[in-house]
Symmetry: C2
Subunit: 469 residues, 2 copies
């Protein structure tokens, strides 16, 4: 095992003080999050200020020690994996909300603040960050910025990149890039904060972020539609966007295999709702008055059923019913309990292509193995589909795994979509990124990495892989 | 005069064909737009395809000829200025709408398509681009991308950067960066399209853009509020954001001197509306039903007047009345007719700081010259203020001009604002950018320019100036 040199660890210790640098057994007590490999470095530093982060980066640079930055360790593609000889920088102590202004509708946080902590603080002023994820309790704003997180509101409020007004980051040379503006309009030179958003810690260490907030609605109402086709579901989404009262807050689709799994596990059923619809669509409206929102959903249903008579609908008439409907979409753990380590994919498809893409893809998967009947669900209003195989991860031979990946990613670039919608590249999607990117884009990514971090000290091997920089 | 060499112009001629390369008198017939200096190069090439753009860039590189890209020539800070020895590339022939899909709510255009042409095409499907500007008839999507245009919808739908899903650009080495995705979620590596957005043609030549569209409302309604203070106006904006019916589409503020100018010129008055309010606020709601929107505006007025009794309001009850109200905000030509070349500034201030910033700034301007009573108006919901001096441009001594600029820009960075909100840097704001930017940000801008365009062929002297790259 490659250990860090004592003269390096002494320096790190001096920077952050006792208790904020951990090695050996003290690391084993830290929650590794999604992947045990996250903490394989066996050395974790917890700075408490931007100045300490800058000093750590300088120290790493002087000693040639690679640095892997960690937020909530909820990443799904190995962006936080580390190995011995590297140092993990945890943002757990950078957890202060520095500024929260209801007049500006802006919050400035340190990178380690969790999404939930931000949501709770904003809700006191009836505000919300315009982005939401199931892992809100652990995911940090720094991590969500580094991975350009998505979630259910992206069709309406954009992805993380679109929520960020300002940003502070420590560069690979230890200098501090400080651009903590709190305004949406800023045309003062290149907007380089966008380099750090979605770079997964390979171009800088994000320390502070200014996030735009939106007013929270006073009430919400939710409906579940059972529909005969993707096209009918997309038409229904447009009706939701055109709501005459309230506004569309979510439009999540659940295809039949996944719906069967969650509805049967939770013994969910409703009168007049057939459970064998090809597509189920969960829509939530926000607005001022709950009853008026429920009436609007009923009106939309009448419009839909006039065109697509084989449509079912259940409107939630209580918070408990609303939660029951959402659980049919969000209880993805059920998949992994049944198929531990099931390979999952996260693609974005332009809406006009979703139906034909899925038909082609599922046919190809069946041809690889007739038993493959993936769970499909996702954010229909923005074309982001999650496809999870009904297979236990370790059981799939490498050749078959490659064929499956090829079937899922085939043609996505030409269609105008993305093979990695919201999970990022991390360690696990390096090969497809290299294979599927426009050559000029890939070359430019390497040139940018070279310009910002020539020694490749920041999260080495991630995104661009271990090759040329 | 530095002329282009014949062997160069012959090559350019060969690339684009007869009629698409213009020199001398043929250039004098082209509309120079906002600044006569835009066409000082005296040589304009009009490519018709991305391939031709790439060939032109390669030819410029081989011959060391700098290239200045032009869209609609509506830029206000000299980003399109050129000089002899340079070649102007006009995107006027890159004017095709390549893809417009109502299911996807996405349009893909060539760079030279005007905003208005895009709006007209989108409106056929009751869609809109989520961005609007008075110069819509000339401003091109390529130019708006290059300058990261703002406008009146930014508080709601973001600036141009937030509307762009995909982008194609020719790099300084002639290679084509192609990332024409049509999805909002794309976490497949560094999102380098954001380098070209707002770079004002210094990092690449943008050739195609995919833009996200939003549903157009069926109806709108507009109100003009007369308010006693900025704080009262900001409270009113929040009430607009919290509308119980419909949604806020615009919240434009007009301070008293500018209001006096436009209202007296247009002989505008309304019963019970005092024309001497410190701040006037124009708000437009969008929704399904015009009468219901007007009632909602009346309800908001009642809520405002209960807290701020000295508030006036006029609700427009016809399209003509709505246009009359908007003219009080948009007829900025009146300023320049009275004060030709009046210096104008374009700042963004965090909303909580707008009142104190303006008070401090106007006091300082009065101290410089008691006759200075600037016209102030702008996008109150996002803090973007336009400040135009009541002085003829040429009349102001250099020293006084510097004092004025200093008074307007002072402390903006520390406040969390921006000294250039939506007009960019161009040729005219290079010195303040250099003086006011975070040093690490400025250094990184130069490093990026060096990594992408080391010979500094693309729009030289703009944004970063003529100094080090």
């Amino acid at each position: 095992m490659h250990r860090l040199k004592p003269e390096f660890t002494v320096e790190i210790h001096t920077i952050v003080g006792a208790g904020n640098f951990r090695e050996g057994e003290a690391v084993a007590m830290i929650d590794y999050g999604v992947a045990p490999e996250n903490l394989d470095a066996g050395a974790v530093v917890l700075p408490g200020t931007t100045g300490e982060v800058a000093a750590i980066v300088q120290c790493c640079r002087a000693h040639g020690v690679p640095l892997v930055t960690h937020g909530g360790r909820t990443g799904l593609v190995g962006g936080g994996m580390s190995k011995s000889g590297e140092l993990v920088l945890s943002t757990a102590r950078l957890n202060r909300i520095l500024h929260l202004c209801p007049v500006e509708r802006v919050v400035v946080v340190e990178a380690g603040v969790t999404l939930q902590a931000l949501q709770v603080a904003a809700a006191e002023h009836r505000l919300e960050p315009g982005i939401d994820l199931p892992s809100r309790g652990s995911a940090t704003i720094g991590g969500m910025t580094s991975t350009n997180a998505g979630g259910i509101s992206a069709f309406r409020s954009g992805v993380m990149r679109h929520r960020i007004l300002g940003l502070e980051a420590v560069l690979a040379d230890g200098s501090v890039y400080s651009d903590l503006t709190r305004v949406v309009k800023n045309a003062a030179g290149y907007d380089l904060k966008h380099l750090f958003v979605g770079a997964e810690g390979t171009l800088g260490v994000i320390t502070r972020i200014a996030v735009k907030l939106e007013p929270q609605p006073l009430a919400t109402a939710t409906v579940l539609f059972g529909l005969a086709s993707v096209d009918a579901a997309l038409e229904t989404v447009r009706r939701g966007l055109d709501a005459e009262y309230g506004h569309l807050r979510a439009a999540e689709a659940v295809w039949h295999s996944y719906f069967r799994l969650t509805s049967s596990h939770h013994h969910w059923s409703a009168a007049d709702y057939a459970t064998d619809h090809p597509v189920n669509l969960l829509m939530t409206l926000g607005g001022a008055d709950e009853t008026a929102l429920q009436s609007e959903l009923a009106r939309i249903y009448e419009d839909v059923v006039a065109v697509h008579p084989d449509t079912s609908a259940v409107i939630a008439f209580s918070g408990a019913q609303e939660a029951d409907l959402w659980r049919l979409r969000e209880d993805t753990d059920l998949i992994y309990r049944q198929h531990p380590g099931a390979p999952s994919y996260d693609v974005s498809i332009p809406l006009s292509q979703v139906a034909s893409y899925l038909e082609r893809c599922l046919t190809d998967l069946k041809a690889i193995d007739a038993a493959l009947d993936p769970y499909v669900f996702g954010h229909l209003a923005d074309g982001n589909l999650h496809i999870v195989l009904n297979s236990t991860g370790g059981d799939i031979p490498a050749e078959k795994a490659r064929a499956v990946e090829e079937a899922i990613y085939r043609g996505i670039g030409e269609l105008g979509g993305s093979f990695s919608a919201e999970h990022g590249i991390g360690a696990k999607r390096v090969a497809p990124l290299s294979a599927l990117s426009n050559p000029a884009k890939l070359a430019l990514m390497h040139r940018i990495k070279g310009a910002l971090d020539a020694p490749a000290l920041l999260n080495p091997g991630k995104v661009l892989g271990a090759g040329r920089i």
